[in-house]
């Protein structure tokens, strides 16, 4: 049996932006999958916003993800047939919020990320940076306690990636919410409050903002 994670012990605090870095295959994706209530760990304990994930059945996990976690993916993963505002409204619609209310809230959040003028645009009509802003808005729209970002800048050029991280830091990060970013992109390490470096399924180093330069 191969162990993807071994002896990982980490707390993520409200209001902080934690980056998980490390080489491919080191277990970053497995770790955020567990934190995001997508994957079940074989051993150990994972508690998110006070809830023990292992005690939840698949339905509870789905509801938990829908209410407490926001996702930003590497390739944006917007639904191509939906407009920007509709894409952003999806997490609320999943929760059973009415279309009208969901749309109204989505409009607010899109304005927050600077896309108030592209509400009716389809993903194909948006630039990569704009698509990622829509993805961030989608992660925020239901006001989750945790936002998980998987390689959010790897599909973007340096400038856009930087702008994106600024949006995440300025809009997504809040006193009551934690943001976890999995990344390879050393150019954005400066946005992290803490950085966890992983290797071979373990967190080999956990650095505060004062040590970021060392990792770079």
């Amino acid at each position: 049996m191969v162990s993807a994670l071994r002896g990982v012990d980490i707390d993520v605090r409200r209001g902080e932006l934690l980056m998980i870095v490390g080489p491919s295959g080191c277990g970053k994706t497995t770790l955020i999958s567990i934190i995001a209530a997508i994957l079940d760990q074989d051993a150990g304990r994972c508690e998110v916003v006070g809830r023990d994930l292992q005690r939840m059945d698949p339905r509870e996990r789905a509801h938990f993800r829908g209410s407490s976690i926001g996702f930003v993916f590497q390739v944006f993963n917007l639904l191509p047939a939906l407009t920007a505002i509709e894409n952003v409204a999806v997490p609320l619609l999943i929760k059973g919020v009415s279309w009208k209310q969901a749309e109204s809230r989505a409009r607010e959040v899109l304005q927050l990320v600077g896309l108030g003028h592209r509400l009716g645009a389809l993903p194909a009509q948006l630039s990569g940076g704009q698509q990622q802003r829509v993805a961030i808005a989608r992660a925020l729209v239901h006001d989750p306690k945790l936002i998980v970002c998987d390689e959010p800048t790897s599909s973007l050029d340096h400038e856009t990636g930087h702008a994106m991280m600024s949006v995440i830091r300025d809009v997504a990060k809040s006193p009551g919410r934690a943001v976890i970013v999995v990344t390879h992109d050393s150019r954005i390490f400066e946005f992290a409050d803490r950085i966890a470096r992983m290797d071979d399924g373990k967190i080999v180093e956990l650095m505060g903002s004062e040590r970021r330069e060392h990792v770079q």
Binding site: R65, N77, L82, P91, D150
Partner: protein, 397 residues
Amino acid sequence: MLRVALKMLIGDRAKYVGLLFGITFMSFLVTFAASYFCGFMTRGFALISENPAVDVWVMDPAVNSTEHTTNLPASALDRVRSVEGVRSAVPLALAVADVHFPNGRFQSFQVIGIDDATFSSLPPLKDNTSPAVLRTPDAALVDPGGTEGKLRTPLLLEDQWPRSPRLDVPTRTLAVGDELLVNDHRIRIAGLSNALPRYPPRPLLYTTYSNALRILLPERHRLTFVLVATAPGVSPSELATRIKVQTGLRARSAEDFKADTVRWFLANSEDVGDIAAMLSLAMSVGFGVTGVMLYMFTAENLKQYAVLKAMGATSGLLLTMIFVQVGLCALLGTAFGIGLCGLVGQILADTAGYPFRMMWFTPPITGVMVLLVSTVAAAISARPVLKLSPGLVFAGR
């Protein structure tokens, strides 16, 4: 989320159109096969439909249809007439005979011997011919009975009644005054009728009951049916029961006899198997096209479903979305298919005499079949979505 499901479906235009086409095609084929079958069956009981004034059909107890008959003794007519509630009862003789044309060609006809006095059972006649022409000696009326080109006689007089058959001579359609031979008895065409097409199709020869007795091969009994009209205040089914009890003969109301004839065809006609094969083929093709298109649609959108799952959509919600997508296609496809079938079928029926009849129950049958096929296709294509791990959305997966 149902709106999202429909947008996802319509947004993928090529697959949406493909899925719609598959279901429309299946719906068209199923409706067409069913309507074709109904057209056949309607023609199967054309003799009954052609006699709307007949309330009760009386026959030998072994007879179950107009297609396969055996005869009654002549006394049956009087026995039926003696039953209370019978307003009138007339004889009808049915037989199949080979009719020889003037050039030596022969053709199987259904000979229908109708009541000499009332001419009841006579179909509408062409060219304003009076039914009274049947009172002239050897007179008969002919009808194509749903066939094409079977009523051809030699064009030239020298090709008629030769010593040896002349089969490849120029011909024309039978006309009033032409002569034919039935069992070596001469008959003269007194008119052409406009009877309902028959199933199986075959030319018809209407003549009087007495003339039918003369031209048909001698048999002990020649009376096939007694056609009864009920007295006022008596229902056909009530009278049928009364006749059955009092005479020991089989008596059926017209509607019941139509149903009997359909059942007989279902049990005995080989064409029913062909229609069933056509229906199965339609469903298989529809299932194949719908299943493949739907599977491709969900397979290609798997990542989108994974995103929804990661964002908290339960399997039940995703399943509902898939069924809504299929439901919309099934609804539209069924409507398009039935509409198209009605249009094409009616054009074929009007222009080529095609046996097409869309009954009230055909669209619901099509709807049920489409629903069945779509549900199975949706269930198969939903499987990967249900088994999908939302972790697929992460870059490392």
